[in-house]
């Protein structure tokens, strides 16, 4: 494979486009509402209407508004308007009606067809970088990705850039880890690039360094990574390959939850296609660069999202974290320097290389650059996936894009960061989302789950829910987390049932402090966060539940 060949594939793909495109979402959300049958029926309808020459039906990734699926978008290049039509809640029976609107060249008036308003802030306020291809390209066809300038960035770094230049570019872009902690990506790459393989170790393979993609998206309420992998898997492969080139690795692993079968399947297809075209494997683009990617499946352990536990799991062991230092960058998989980044982080890499660090750094806030993908869910009208520039306020996201609380309720809080995060009260909705601001509020950016809660949500219940989660997911290695989460859960149960005394509340706070500062890994260290943040903003709800609180 060389660059002209790549361009040829892209051109061929573009030429095969037809005047009218019907895109049908085949990501997991819509798929579970029967979108595959919708797609088949659309194809049949197109054939029956004799429109095969000018209409193409394709399966694409996530089109964001998941709660209204299955979604079908029609783009007619013969129309001057530019904005297509997005149909929502499409059933297989709607297929003929959708196709018939194409012939009449008129806006569909069928009472059965429902349109989503593409001019709604939910769509217009998004800025797609990570999701630029999502809902547009066919995730199961590499040609589709190549036509969208896919693998151009990989070619560019292999041909035009030294590994140092790549790292500098990422450093200058200001990209930070999208897994939650926000560590500067370029800095991490530079550390691994500099790290030496330990001497005297038996070499398992010729590899001395590894690149790992953390796709163990475990936070309940987060589905950004799943959507990226289902909608645009090649982007992650390309990002990983660029990283591997930059740090000098030739083997990569994607550690993915077994709960995401569709994403696994699409990744397998993507890896296979990329290998076949010589975009992965040995001598990529006829350069000296070799890079293989293998998938490793999780088996239902949230703690494996923690990087040392993730590595233990890749090595086929119990997913138990180990103390850091040494960091994976120094001693990772099998003792070798290892770069671990999250799916969304890798997905940001190709556009940064393609469009330049300056372009990327111009988006977002001073310290948090670029965009962030959020999974908007809970008691909100528009649930789904959004990508917004860093610095967008929570109010914009919840009230404008999300359309406010469903069923006329009033938003009370937004939960971010999953079990490691916290609840942000409605009074702080004007806070811009960036790493520092959310941390100041006692929550974290986290991987991007955003759950909206309305007035009917009891905050003690929320804390209780997350503590149950942490209790169940604690690996059991260190005492504070193993025992502390059990004790905290029981105290919260006691409070919830109105059987607790103020002394129990004191003990709750003391335990939270202790578990937070003494636990071995991030799971334990952040397990008290949902309690601490609800105590901070909704302490009255705890106090109201104290035993005899009504009497005094």
């Amino acid at each position: 494979m060389d660059f002209p060949e790549l361009l040829a594939i892209a051109n061929q793909e573009r030429q095969s486009q037809k005047a009218i495109r019907i895109r049908c979402c085949v990501a997991a959300g819509c798929l579970s509402s029967n979108s595959l049958v919708v797609k088949e029926r659309l194809e049949i309808a197109v054939t029956e209407a004799g429109l095969v020459d000018c209409v193409k039906v394709s399966g694409v990734g996530c089109m964001r508004l998941c709660c209204q699926g299955p979604l079908v978008q029609v783009d007619d290049s013969t129309q001057s308007e530019g904005v297509g039509i997005l149909y929502k809640a499409v059933t297989p029976d709607h297929a003929p009606a959708i196709v018939s609107t194409l012939q009449s060249l008129a806006a569909p008036e069928s009472p059965y067809l429902q349109q989503a308003d593409l001019r709604h802030p939910f769509f217009t306020q998004q800025q797609a970088i990570v999701l630029e291809n999502s809902g547009i390209i066919d995730p199961e066809r590499i040609e589709s990705y190549i036509a969208a300038e896919g693998y151009h960035a990989l070619h560019h770094v292999l041909r035009e850039m030294s590994s140092n230049q790549v790292i500098n570019e990422i450093m200058r872009s200001g990209l930070r880890g999208r897994g939650g902690a926000g560590y500067p990506t370029g800095l991490k790459w530079a550390t691994v690039a500099k790290a030496m393989s330990p001497q005297g170790e038996a070499l398992r393979t010729a590899n001395h360094k590894f690149v790992v993609c953390n796709a163990d998206e475990g936070d309940p309420g987060a589905f950004m990574d799943r959507s990226i992998l289902e909608s645009d898997p090649h982007r992650v492969l390309e990002g990983m390959a660029i990283a591997a080139y930059a740090i000098g690795a030739s083997q990569g692993y994607i550690y993915i939850r077994a709960e995401y079968p569709l994403a696994i399947q699409r990744l397998q297809i993507a890896i296979h296609q990329a290998q076949k075209l010589g975009l992965l494997g040995s001598r990529v683009f006829d350069s000296p660069f070799d890079f293989r990617i293998d998938l490793r499946m999780g088996a239902g352990a949230y703690v494996c999202g923690e990087e040392t536990a993730l590595m233990a799991s890749i090595e086929g062991k119990r997913g138990i974290p180990s103390p850091r230092p040494p960091y994976p960058a120094e001693r990772g998989l099998w003792g070798f320097p290892t770069l671990i980044n999250n799916v969304e982080t890798f997905a940001n890499v190709p556009p940064i290389i393609r469009k330049g660090a300056d372009w990327y750094a111009s988006i977002g806030t001073e310290k948090s650059k670029g965009t962030k993908v959020f999974a908007l869910a809970g008691k909100i009208r528009n649930t789904g996936l959004i990508e917004v520039p860093m610095g967008t306020t929570i109010r914009q996201i919840v009230e404008e894009m999300g359309g406010g609380v469903s069923a006329g309720g009033v938003a009370k809080a937004v939960q971010t960061g999953g079990p490691s995060g916290g609840c942000i009260p409605a009074s702080a909705f004007d806070t811009p989302v960036d790493y520092e601001s959310l941390t100041q509020l006692g929550s974290i950016m986290g991987s991007g789950g955003m759950i909206v809660m309305d007035q009917s949500t009891r905050m003690v219940d929320v804390a209780h829910y997350f503590m149950e989660f942490c209790r169940d997911e604690s690996c059991g290695k260190c005492i504070p987390c193993r025992v502390g989460t059990v004790q905290l859960y029981q105290l919260l149960s006691k409070i919830r049932e109105g059987k607790a005394t103020p002394a129990d509340l004191d003990l709750l706070e003391e335990l939270c402090d202790m578990v937070k500062y003494t636990s071995l890994c991030g799971l334990g260290q952040s397990a008290p966060n949902p309690v601490l943040s609800t105590l901070r903003y909704f302490r009255n709800e705890y106090e109201a539940l104290m035993m005899n609180s009504n009497e005094s």
Binding site: G29, S32, C67, D219, G221, F223, M297, A299, V452, M453
Partner: protein, 174 residues
Amino acid sequence: MVTPPPIRTANSTSLQHMSNDSRLKVLDATMKRHQYQQDALIEILHKAQELFGYLGNDLLLYIAYHLKLPPSHVYGVATFYHLFSLTPKGIHRCVVCIGTACYVKGAAALLSAVEQCAQIHPGETTADDQLSFSTARCLGACGIAPAVVFDGNVCGHQTPELVCDRLQTFLAQR
């Protein structure tokens, strides 16, 4: 001096009763494809469970033997991960998502609906082996919350009524 019991390997005792089982051949092929590497244990356990439905002791010993791993290590790994089951599962599976989005949208009501309808708790299987019931920590289907998985198919926007209707079709087959 106490002598420990003779080494019992997967070759010497267990699994002989199913040495002609074609599923074992598939498992063998999988292990071979992974070059019997010890770090492929989790992938191999996935395959074994897919083939046999659950990970019985003889199966674990068989895998330990072929990967040259201590049995306690294999058992430890198999019991660490939620998706592995060491006991047989029912014919039908019902998994209620209790991720945050589903929780906020009423997963608790779905849980009690299943409990009422099938008379079993999460993690249990009905006495007639028709139905296994479990919970999941977020399927990533938050956009269509609350979600329930019936026999591997994710169904969104569930209500207690919908869930019970579906379960009735499973349980009616007994």
